[in-house]
Amino acid sequence: MTSKKIVLHFPHRLVDQPIVYKLVKEYDLQFNILKAYVTPQEEGLMVLELTGEDKNFKKSMEYLESCGVKIQPLSQDVIRNEAKCTDCGVCVPICPVGALVVEPLTRKVHFYENKCIACELCVKVCPTRAMEVHF
């Protein structure tokens, strides 16, 4: 089994295509949409968690690429600018998935990138704007 959080960029011509439907129907993948929107330039962006058999997962990625969908792993997208972060911890109770945690001894804030669902709630809440999103 493979389970990954990925970011899909849909070019303009694919915005009206039922791509996720194909992932379920043809490749038997489970999906959980974490975020989806169409930007003013009419490019679609979707953050989702996909789970399925290894070989189906691999084939589904090939399918997506053949359609012209750009795939990015999610962990690359929300990053913490270490120079700006003061480790205050005001983001901690805001994060819905516990990706930001105060280490009890050091009192520094640890960012678990693998847990992050790129909801971006922390981005504007951060007083020094240390959390940055790069889609």
Partner: protein, 400 residues
């Protein structure tokens, strides 16, 4: 037991024994108050949090021909300064916003840039755009000035914060059913989170609750450089309810601080944006406490478990100026990550960085140990708990 003069003699010889406020807690637990006070000469305390009543004044030097900014206008990177002084003295407050900032017109406003950010950039050595206008006089004929400036070229650049270092602060929560945006951060509805803002057992005025050693003239770590306590801070309120250990259980004393901005560091003065609220400056302050007697150590060794504060509803009670508390918690509970309010477990967040405060306390300790930083005797005391000095609300009187 010992005087500040004696401590300074030891500092000069590199023999002073210095402990941070965290280390003194451990030492007192291990060896007791008497032994610890015999061993340790100085305790270092610190805090690193947003402090809105901060700002800096500058003398930019006279242009040729001369201009009189007094009564005119002046902006640094688009952020307006206060010009009501003589020709080229100006004051920049950290909450000042550019005139074209959308503020809260699209709610919640982002407040990406303001006075606090300008101060951080100045300190970092970046060039700043100055734009000024004046009405022109016979002796100051110029009406317009546009130039880059740099902190190193200014005659004076002085950080002068009229209220910093709050002795204790509220825990902010939201009882309403919609999200609110406050200076205590974003508060989720129905007790979604509880935000606090103090370094607790490291925080300067909590470790000297009766201002026995911290007074006017006390030399401090300010923004990475050296500063002094200039006065009691605005809203100084020493007469509030205290616990049996003498520590105020709600916001109490404050200090006004001053220091040469040119020798400060941008790591310890950080421009700060509070969503839906505004801009400010996060300030790093470290205060040495000379161990004059056992009582000083007793207070300095107070632990998070022994320092209490009040939970306040920022959706209704705070904005309406209605006094009252939803309960009392201590800093050990706050630091555990959740507290119980009205039977509900509420996750906590701190606006004040404890790890940075710890770093400041360590840095000040190293300055003192190396002999670089001598202590000063206060020239006057801050108004104390029994002084009657108090924070009063505004009495509004109709104009007609």
């Amino acid at each position: 037991m010992r005087t500040i003069k004696e401590i300074n003699e030891k500092i000069k010889k590199g023999q002073a024994v210095v402990a941070t406020a965290e280390e003194i807690i451990e030492l007192v637990q291990k060896k007791g108050i008497k032994k610890a006070s015999e061993e340790v000469d100085v305790v270092t305390t610190a805090t690193f949090g947003p402090m809105c009543s901060s700002g800096a004044y500058f003398n930019i030097g006279h242009s040729k021909p001369r201009i009189k900014l007094g009564g005119g206008s002046c902006k640094f990177n688009g952020v307006p300064l206060y010009c009501g002084f003589a020709a080229v003295d100006v004051y920049l407050g950290v909450t000042a916003l550019p005139d074209d900032d959308p503020q809260n017109k699209v709610f919640p406003g982002e407040f990406k840039y303001g006075g606090g950010h300008v101060i951080q950039e100045l300190v970092a050595g970046k060039d700043i755009r100055l734009e000024a206008t004046a009405y022109g006089t016979d002796c100051y004929p110029r009406k317009k000035l546009e130039t880059f400036i740099n902190i190193k070229d200014l005659n004076e650049a002085v950080l002068f914060n009229i209220r910093n270092c709050y002795q204790n602060y509220n825990v902010a929560v939201n009882l309403s059913d919609k999200i609110i945006y406050t200076y205590m951060g974003v508060l989720k509805p129905k007790l979604g989170n509880a935000n606090y803002c103090s370094a607790g057992q490291l925080s300067p005025l909590l470790k000297d609750p009766y201002y026995k050693t911290i007074g006017i003239g006390t030399k401090i770590f300010l923004g990475g450089g050296i500063g002094y306590v200039a006065w009691q801070g605005t809203q100084h309120n020493p007469g509030v309810k205290r616990k049996d250990n003498g520590i105020p259980a709600m916001p109490a004393g404050t200090i006004a601080v001053i220091g040469d901005l040119k020798q400060m560091k941008s790591d310890w003065l950080m421009g700060t944006s509070m969503l839906g609220y505004g801009v400010t400056l996060t300030v790093g302050i470290g205060v040495p406490i000379p161990v004059l007697d056992e009582e000083v150590i007793k207070f300095a060794a107070a632990k998070d478990e022994e320092i209490y504060t009040q939970i306040v509803d920022y959706s209704s009670a705070y904005p309406a100026m209605v006094p009252g508390s939803l309960g009392e918690v201590n800093y050990a509970q706050l630091k555990s990550g959740k507290i119980s309010i009205q039977g509900k477990d509420v996750p906590t967040g701190n606006l004040s960085s404890y790890s940075k405060a710890r770093q400041i306390a360590e840095e000040l300790k190293s300055w003192i140990k190396k002999g670089d930083f001598l202590l000063t005797e206060a020239v006057a005391s801050l108004p104390g708990a029994e002084s009657g000095y108090a924070l009063r609300p505004l009495k509004e009187r109709p104009l007609d």
